[in-house]
Amino acid sequence: MWEYTDKVKEHFLNPKNAGEIENPDAVAEVGSIACGDALKLTMKLDENKRIVDAKFKTFGCASAIASASALTELLKGKTIEEAEKITNQEIADYLGGLPPEKMHCSVLGQEALEKAIENYRGVSHRKPEEVIICACFGVTDGEIEHAVRQNHLTSIEEVTNYTKAGGGCGNCHEKIQAIIDRVYQTKERQAQPAERPRLSNLQKIRLIEETIDREIRPSLKHDGGDIELVDVVGNRVLVALRGACAVCHASQLTMKGFVQGKLQEFVAPELVVEEVAS
């Protein structure tokens, strides 16, 4: 059983600001059912860019619900510039602290806030150059780096507690360690992209098949899903997802990102993945 503070219990049992604002000025959805928690944040602002109302909907455990409730309480009455400064630690502090393993709930809150502000300003959220490091939970290098810097994380375990990255199959542990090392290194090493030979169409398809077999399918099988290569048209790779992956719509984005990332890494950087019905 988790050791929750009275404040967490209070916000879990009687959440504040649960629901959804109609015609919101800012909206964000983060997390997914596959990952075990998700949060939808909606906000209403007045002409002075002050948040007059904030509401949430959460799928998740007690601390996820309490963190979202706390976030909306923190937000109300703040200007967008003030809100922008809220950290995940502040959300946790508002609740009198969270168990270390549950810090990712506060991070989810902060992510939702960031995304909502970007939505309000009309700028896009994820920088295109970010890649997914942890396929199990769809966490990007940018998100990990952000959590490491902001919360001074120094171990893989801490990164898992804050972002969930590394909490599944463990395949990404080396990459997480590399990000931690990079953050604490004064001089960042510039990785040189490897030379790639040009591929014939047949070679490309064969390489895609091999990569799916070796790098992708085992991860999906691990979660009761599967993938089938349907066709390759130019640089478009058409795939069908099955089993646990196919029914879980919330995970589609993650899945596509993961499959595409692997194919770009092992076959050719210009490939794009598209999902088709099987």
């Binding site: 988790w2 879990f12 049992l13 959440p15 649960a18 959805e29 059912i33 596959a34 075990g36 928690d37 998700a38 949060l39 939808k40 909907k57 959460t58 799928f59 998740g60 455990c61 007690a62 996820a64 619900i65 393993e101 199990c136 939970f137 898992t160 969930k164 909490g167 599944g168 691990h222 979660d223 009761g224 089993g243 646990a244 029914v247 879980c248 919330a250 995970s251």
Partner: protein, 393 residues
């Protein structure tokens, strides 16, 4: 507030009769059963009596009973002993839905170079027997497959599986921790070589288990030391707990019918009640071959820890296969192996009953759970069908 304990696959109440039976051996009769004097000898008598009761519940001979500290020790001992006695064989067969006591051990052995086959289950949680039969090879040292699954209660055809193994000269072990006391088990009528059971799952205290080893099976001890358990497990006997387990086995034998009538009816009443009152929920695991006391049910679009904590407000104790309750960030490996979608797996709750439960217990859950589910669904961003969805209640 009254505790409504519906988590008997996790652990059980120590029966009153069992406590009474063991107490004198925590107090005045503290002798060592190995001693030469009468004071110790009388304890040895009582231990022998308990061993007889344990053996009788299993349809075994007392010499086939090795007393251990828990189910995990029994599982580890069985598998490692089989490997030690078949040094030229390199293959292990188990299932994808084993308890960590077998699963994690086998994963570790795989890293050490053993080839391990994890037999899959179908969406109903049933073992793939074709794949099992096809996996048996001359290189197979041991098969370890649970008798009944702790999370879903699904019962596996281990006696058939053991026969197939025996025909090929392969040792067969079963983790029967959840099965013993809930369904009839008679070791005289099958070819299973080794079987594990755990005291605290059948109303004995924690810290005592059994490994049954069929007569004639080659065996290597796990704990090496004194001559206790005929040299098969060193360490002074946990006398009070062994005596307690003896009594608990006697009670289990007497209650076996009740388990399959009274407890089954309570479980079915709970299942019917919840399925009628709550929309979009589903039972996990086949209903045909299932322990009479277990109900694993998923509520779509909400998360298990939240359900458990809200039930806790009413004194209701159950478990969940959600990520947040497993402490591993991913939902239960059993539900994932069955291909239960994430929308369902995170919202799974396991109720497991015992002969000490009553109809009032079950009715309390049927009354209190639907509003809890409704409350969490209203909070959930995935719950999009509010109109009339809960009208069945």
């Amino acid at each position: 507030m009254k505790t409504v304990y519906l988590d008997n696959n996790a652990t059980t109440m120590v029966a009153r009769e069992v406590v009474e039976e063991m107490l004198p051996y925590l107090g005045e009769y503290y002798g060592n059963p190995s001693s030469m004097h009468t004071f110790g000898g009388q304890v040895a008598h009582k231990v022998a009596e308990a061993r007889l009761k344990i053996a009788s519940l299993l349809g075994a001979d007392p010499e086939e009973i090795i007393i251990t500290s828990c189910g995990t020790e029994s599982d580890n001992t069985a598998i490692l002993s089989a490997l030690a006695n078949n040094p030229s064989k390199n293959h292990i067969i188990t299932s994808r839905v084993e308890h960590p006591a077998v699963k994690v051990l086998c994963e570790g052995l795989a890293r050490k170079g053993y080839r391990v086959t994890f037999i899959p289950v179908d969406p109903e949680g049933r073992l793939d027997m074709d794949e099992y039969a096809a996996s048996l090879t001359p290189d197979t040292a041991i098969v370890s497959i649970m008798w009944a699954n702790n999370e879903t209660g699904v019962i596996f055809p281990v006696e058939t599986a053991a026969r197939l193994a025996r025909e090929r000269g392969i040792l067969f072990h079963t983790d029967a921790v959840q099965a013993i006391g809930k369904i009839p088990v008679n070791m005289k009528g099958n070819t299973i070589d080794m079987l594990s059971l755990s005291g605290h799952k059948l109303h004995a205290p924690k810290g005592v288990g059994v490994l049954y080893v069929r007569k004639g099976t080659k065996f290597s001890p796990f704990l090496i030391g004194g001559h206790q358990e005929k040299g098969r497990r060193g360490g002074t006997e946990n006398v009070p707990s062994i005596i307690a387990l003896g009594k608990a086995c006697e009670l289990a034998a007497a209650n076996l019918d009740k388990e399959n009538t009274y407890v089954r009816e309570l479980r079915d009443r709970l299942e019917r009640g919840l399925l009628t009152a709550i929309p979009q929920c589903k039972v996990n695991g086949t209903k045909d071959e299932r322990l009479p006391n277990t109900l694993n049910i998923s509520f779509e679009f909400i998360e298990g820890e939240s359900i458990l904590l809200l039930m806790d407000q009413f004194g209701i104790c159950a478990s969940s296969g959600s990520a947040c309750t497993s402490g591993s960030l991913q939902p239960s490996h059993v539900l994932r192996a069955m291909g239960v979608p994430y929308t369902m797996a995170h919202g799974s709750v396991r109720f497991s009953l015992s002969v000490y439960n009553t109809a009032e217990d079950v009715d309390l859950v049927i009354k209190e759970l639907p509003p809890i589910i409704e409350k969490l669904r209203v909070l959930s961003p995935y719950w999009a069908t509010p109109q009339g969805a809960c009208a069945t209640a």
